[in-house]
Amino acid sequence: MVSFARKTLRTGEFRALNLPQPVQVEADAQGAPLSVCRARRGRTAQPVPVRHIQDRWRVDDLWWRKPVCRMYWQVELEDDRVEVLFHDRIADRWYRQSYG
């Protein structure tokens, strides 16, 4: 099959919202997050310990195309913030993303 050089019209029509943001996370042997590096304005990133894991769930999707396998963690940090992180089990990387 030959790919055709076609005129591209109006690319970028649709931009996804709430894309995952890469983040540095230290995890234990079972994969649970222990601390999250938060970048502060004008300062270097500091690891903030996880005070409490509020919830966790796993998402396996699009297995018939480009598989997605994520382990989500809703965590309460020592600075009282609540964040949702996920570990991409295929790429072995951590991300931050709003959920719900």
Binding site: R10, E13, R15, L17
Partner: protein
């Protein structure tokens, strides 16, 4: 006959011109493919796709070298690997050929305003009253045609007082030598032409060959009553044409600009939500086109290029002309849902296009005596947007739209799109 991209199907005008030119574009589709894929020039090329009325993959068009190998249009595509294994095989891109053919017709409008199309291999021009054209010398006509057509598209030109004789003349002409057949030469000219040029079904033409009727002269020498008795009215018509009695009417088609909008997705769009989201934007954009001039939409064509490269297409005639984008969109959604008569594309797609192929008459709408509050605010918003765009030069206002709000992947639930009122 509907022409993609050339606008309305109404407006046919039947004429009886004194002189007609036939422009024959041999292997039109193959020529177009070689223009956009020049690396295959010199190679045997075959275009394959689904046969008409069948799901089998057949040869839809091919180059001379493929025909020389014994492959014909309509043969199963598998024959290529047996008879012409070195052939370059490309998918038959019907929407592309239709658009290019429509562009050819629009370009030829500069030569003659009366054109009868015969997609894709030919078209006829009414030459009556065209200034600067010599009725005895087709060279100025050939020069005028060359001047308006894209480079690489060189038709063979035949001129005569009837369409069929002009067609036979075009088939005999060369790219550099058009042929004009005067009335007094018509009978002799046709008598030597092959009977395969008659406008008949392939099966009938094969019968002519088996009966030894290899030239138009052979057909013309038969008694007309015998042709009528053996082949019915179609046979009688063919006998008249072979005898030079060319009374076929000339049906000039009025051309109008294309109203077509397209969206190309930077990533494959796999979901139903993406499809309808894109369709809504296309409907709204086509409604804003000035060419529509406020007229209601009667018929549309939706095209999608699938991830596999195939083209999905549906031409939908609306039950009644619709004058608002919301109504058109609602009708399209109803028709494209399962059970609605057609069906949206099955699979992920990379491009989506919408074309308005037929419009109704002008809408006589009473202007509103006063805008309501909502419309007033919308007008104000549009004015502000225009100022922003003028100052910043790029779209700077966006709108959040739902894609798959039920998705377990948060980035698939909503999307940001340029705000278009």
């Amino acid at each position: 006959m509907p022409i993609s991209g050339s606008g309305k199907e109404r407006g046919w005008e039947v004429r009886t011109p004194q002189q007609v030119a036939c422009l024959w574009f041999p292997d039109f589709e193959v020529v177009l493919e070689l223009r956009r894929c020049p690396q295959f020039r010199g190679e045997p090329v075959a275009l394959i796709g689904s046969g008409e009325g069948t799901a089998e993959t057949v040869v839809r068009a091919c180059s001379v070298r493929v025909r020389a190998a014994g492959v014909r249009v309509g043969n199963p595509a598998v024959l290529l690997s047996q008879r012409c294994p070195r052939a370059v095989v490309l998918p038959y891109d019907l929407p592309y050929y239709e658009r290019r053919y429509a562009e050819v017709l629009l370009a030829l409008d500069a030569v003659s305003p009366a054109i009868e199309p015969r997609p894709f291999d030919a078209c006829f021009l009414d030459l009556d009253g065209i200034p600067g054209l010599d009725p005895l010398d087709p060279a100025p006509l050939a020069a005028a045609v060359r001047a308006v057509l894209p480079e690489g598209l060189v038709p063979r030109i035949g001129v005569a007082s009837g369409k069929f004789v002009a067609w036979v003349a075009a088939r005999t002409a060369t790219p550099v030598r058009p042929i004009l057949v005067a009335d007094e030469e018509r009978t002799l000219f046709l008598s030597q032409a092959p009977s395969a040029l008659l406008p008949a079904e392939p099966e009938l033409l094969q019968v002519f060959q088996r009966l030894g009727l290899r030239t138009l002269g052979d057909v013309a020498r038969l008694p007309r009553r015998a042709m009528l008795a053996r082949f019915g009215r179609p046979g009688e018509r063919l006998h008249r044409l072979a005898s030079g009695e060319d009374r076929e009417p000339f049906q000039a088609m009025a051309l109008s600009p294309v109203i077509r909008e397209e969206i190309v997705f930077p990533m494959t769009a796999p979901s139903v939500a993406d499809f309808y989201l894109a369709l809504e934007r296309l409907v709204r954009r086509t409604f804003r086109r000035a060419e529509r001039r406020g007229r209601a939409v009667r018929q549309v064509r939706v095209q999608a290029r699938l991830e596999s490269g195939e083209v999905w297409e549906r031409r939908l005639t609306l039950r009644r002309p619709l004058e608002t984008p919301e109504r058109v969109l609602a009708e399209l959604r109803r028709r494209l849902e399962p059970g609605g008569g057609s069906h949206r594309p099955n699979g992920a797609f990379t491009e989506l296009a919408l074309e308005i192929t037929s419009l109704a008459g002008s809408i006589e709408a009473q202007p509103a005596l006063a805008l309501d509050e909502r419309e007033h605010r919308l007008e104000q918003l549009l004015a502000e947007l225009e100022q922003l765009r003028a100052r910043l030069g790029t779209p700077s206002v966006y709108r959040i739209v739902e894609r798959e709000p039920w998705s377990r992947l948060p980035e698939r639930r909503y999307a940001l799109v340029n705000f278009e009122p």
